[in-house]
């Protein structure tokens, strides 16, 4: 019924669709059965959170989402990072088609408890570890500011990313257009949730996601970074070989596909293993975590004074508008906007990733907007 709202959700599960789609009609149709007086959008019977949700009609949302599609974080057209997924608890409480414009965030003090860390340690390590603690430190600059929402309950739970379950945040006003400040916190805090859900996701994802299968067996154990000790050159060579053979054998490809990720202005590149993600959303959030230090602060690198240099206004500038866009170089050497093709096709053709400044990607962005409109 309102497909544009579900752009990001589609990949995660269709159940959201029906839930959201049905609630207004349910509300309205039940009017007829005369159970209760409901307003036009049936909100009075739905979540008690915020009646201003009523003001958000599909049309508005469409626009907002379109903007969001190219906004801020790597601008994957039409998809969003998992932590932006609609809060299922809100939805299930009958909250309308409103897709929360920003995720429910864990506590600002949301420490990674030691026990949670150990969950992580058994699984994927290395650079996939996030900057949660680091961002805690860095964010001290921002704690004095009056961010728009209060910190909610701890939202971390090692659940499959795809399910996107976050406990409700009572202080949250989901209708508010996210400000740069919020997004700053999102950038820093969201990793908390994602970090702990990632490692479990490694293991559970292969069960959860029907669309992608990066291990030979569905219940594959999580891969440990550095084990078995095989060099990336060899891993990538064998990956290419078996991809060529795959159509014949029907066997799944081997584990890793490391590609470089660069970001305009960052002093060094990173590498990610595309096979550890099953959709654009995961990739997007992983990259956000990895590179957030470059937008928020210079990670204390010796070349810059670090925190002092980054002013609030600069931060807001960074976070408003389409500052960064995620692009990739395909097999033909062309630079493309990430998100257009199905995920599997993307992994096959992606040679490297680049987080470009929005201004450089001007030519690419409108395509994304149009595509979203077409989908609507």
């Amino acid at each position: 019924m309102s497909p544009p709202l579900l752009l990001g959700v589609e990949e995660e599960g269709q159940s959201n669709v029906s839930l959201m789609a049905s609630s207004p009609s349910d509300c309205i149709s039940q009017n007829v059965s005369g159970l209760q007086e409901r307003n036009y959008l049936g909100l009075s019977d739905c979540s008690s959170v915020d009646s201003s949700a009523a003001s958000s009609l599909p049309v508005d949302n469409k626009n907002k989402l379109n903007l969001k599609a190219t906004e801020l974080r790597l601008g994957l057209p039409g998809s969003e990072s998992p932590e932006r997924e609609p809060d299922l608890s809100l939805l299930s409480s009958g909250k309308l088609d409103e897709k929360p414009l920003f995720p429910l965030l864990p506590s600002k003090d949301g420490i990674c408890p030691g026990s949670q860390k150990n969950v992580v340690s058994g699984n994927k390590r290395g650079f996939s570890d996030t900057m949660d603690r680091f961002s805690e430190v860095k964010s001290s600059v921002y704690t004095e500011k009056n961010w728009m929402f209060s910190v909610g309950p701890d939202s971390e739970s090692p659940q499959s990313v795809g399910q996107g379950k976050f406990p409700g945040n009572s202080g949250m006003n989901p209708m508010l257009r996210p400000t740069g400040a919020q997004q700053a916190i999102m950038k820093e805090m969201a990793p908390n949730a994602l970090e702990r859900s990632r490692p479990a996701a490694n293991g559970t994802h292969n069960k959860a996601s029907a669309s992608n299968n990066n291990m030979s067996a569905p219940a594959a154990k999580a891969q440990v970074v550095g084990w078995p000790p095989i060099r990336s050159f060899r891993k990538n060579s064998l990956a290419t070989t078996s991809k060529n053979n795959d159509e014949v054998d029907g066997k799944p490809g081997p584990g890793a596909l490391f590609i470089k990720v660069s970001m305009d202005g960052a002093p060094y590149l990173r590498k990610v293993d595309l096979r550890t993600y099953t959709n654009y959303g995961e990739l997007s959030s992983a990259l956000e975590k990895m590179f957030s230090c470059f937008t928020i602060g210079q990670c204390g690198s010796h070349e810059a004074p670090g925190r002092e240099m980054l002013s609030e206004s600069k931060l807001k500038d960074l976070l408003h508008g389409s500052e960064y866009v995620l692009t990739y170089e395909d097999k033909d050497g062309d630079w493309m906007l990430v998100g257009d093709v199905p995920w599997e096709m993307f992994i096959d053709s992606c040679k490297r990733l680049k987080i470009m400044k929005g201004s450089d990607a001007i030519g690419l962005a409108p395509r994304a907007m149009e595509k979203s409109k077409i989908r609507n």
């Binding site: 030691g114 290395g126 030979s216 067996a217 970074v225 550095g226 078995p228 050159f233 990173r270 004074p305």
Partner: protein
Amino acid sequence: MSYSSLPEDVLEHVFSFVQSDKDRNVISLVCKSWYEIERWCRRRIFVGNCYAVSPRMAIRRFPEVRSVELKGKPHFADFNLVPEGWGGYVYPWIRAMAGGYPWLEELKLKRMVVTDESLELIAKSLKNFKVLVLSSCEGFSTHGLAAIAADCKNLKELDLWESDVEDPSGNWLSKFPDTCTSLVSLNIACLGSEVSFSALERLVVRCPNLRTLRLNRAVPLEKLAHLLRQAPQLVELGTGTYSADLRPDIFSNLAGAFSGCKELKSLSGFWDVVPAYLPAVYSVCSGLTTLNLSYATIQSPDLIKLVSQCPKLQCLWVLDYIEDSGLEALAATCKDLRELRVFPSEPFGDEPNVSLTEQGLVLVSEGCPKLESVLYFCRRMSNDALVTIAKNRPSMIRFRLCIIDPQTPDYLTLEPLDVGFGAIVQHCKDLRRLSLSGLLTDRVFEYIGTYAKKLEMLSVAFAGESDLGLHHVLSGCDSLRKLEIMDCPFGDKALLANAAKLETMRSLWMSSCSVSFEACKLLGQKMPRLNVEVIDESGPPDSRPELPVKKLYIYRTVTGRRIDMPGFVWNVGEDSALRLS
């Protein structure tokens, strides 16, 4: 006439026969005049850790060096344990050598970050530059290579062993001037994209001394024959893609070309092999000493056919498709075999996909009396097998066993593999390199500490029970230079108790162990000639002091903390105030 009154140039002449670094170092310690003479006539230096010494110091001590070899990142960087941006930049060295070693001829780098700028500086400043070996390096593109090709008039060797090269469009091979006829060795096997075949061919034709040619995957098989006919003098060849449509004319052309290469001793490449084309190389098999089939996804019968024709084989790298039956054939045919490496075809699968077990290795150890170097990936092992191997081959020098599932016990007895590895170190008295795997307790480390007196490098993962394990190694292995450990329950005690040992080693890597930040600080404070670097991407390690450090890299150095550490590396030295902002 006592030796001390021999004239300088006589001593210098004598010293010139001493090539080994170790011996040279000993010579320099005899007396002050020998130190002086030696340092002026040392022509090659090897710096195993580029951060152990500064380029300025190296140049100051050895002013007339012609060949430099440097290594950068720790070995575990090969397995993605070291985040990008960690370091290992060669530019400071090149900048220093541009001024200090204007007559430098050779540069060999391993696991370093090499930029195009560095390569351009080499091309511009070093007029007699001859040999460039970039092994597992990264950070450069074919632009840099173009500069080398264009300006190094006497280039003899260009070897890009498994480096990560950016390939922007641009035909760098054609930048070799027509006057360049000096190439002896060209290894471009790691290049991802196409090179101009005509430029390659012209280069091959005009370099009559070309002995080594390793092509990249993009060179099609149909063109290989043509190249071979232009360079029948080749000693080492790496093919490109080894597949083509099955056509008799292509085959006979290829077979004919190979038969013309009477000097071929080493073959590699073989990507995407079509087995039907393998017989084309049969004519050279009888002379082959090195065969690298580690990218050849062909099955055991084809491998057996090939290997059975190579009686002179000394070094074989192969995928586990060879299976036990193939290794049995190898053991029967290749009595001269020194080195065997068996790589896994599907390392991330849960189940074995091939019939390769410990038996294959046992058979090779029985049949190949000269076997001294082994790298073996498999899925099961037994103490019995290891004991047998140890007794068969006491001359083993390098033994690296990787049982793919961590902490796999002896599959027969379900016991740890302590006894098996213990036998290895006990019988193989000259063992220099050892990699452990499988289920292992502290006992194996006790064996290692007791017997492995010549051991120089030890790699450990998912092993041991307590600090005692680490203590055995650090206190017992007299020759230990490099120790790398991942996911073991080793903590502070052994490390601190053996702090002095760390200065006798090149480096120690520990990741996902139980070393506390306090211990690192203490170590850094007490040992000024060690750099104790903590790698932590999630934030300053002292903000969570109750957690063990994630990654720890300790190395000896005479230059103090390095200045190029990225934000996620902390040096916990004397001023343990962390270096943030």
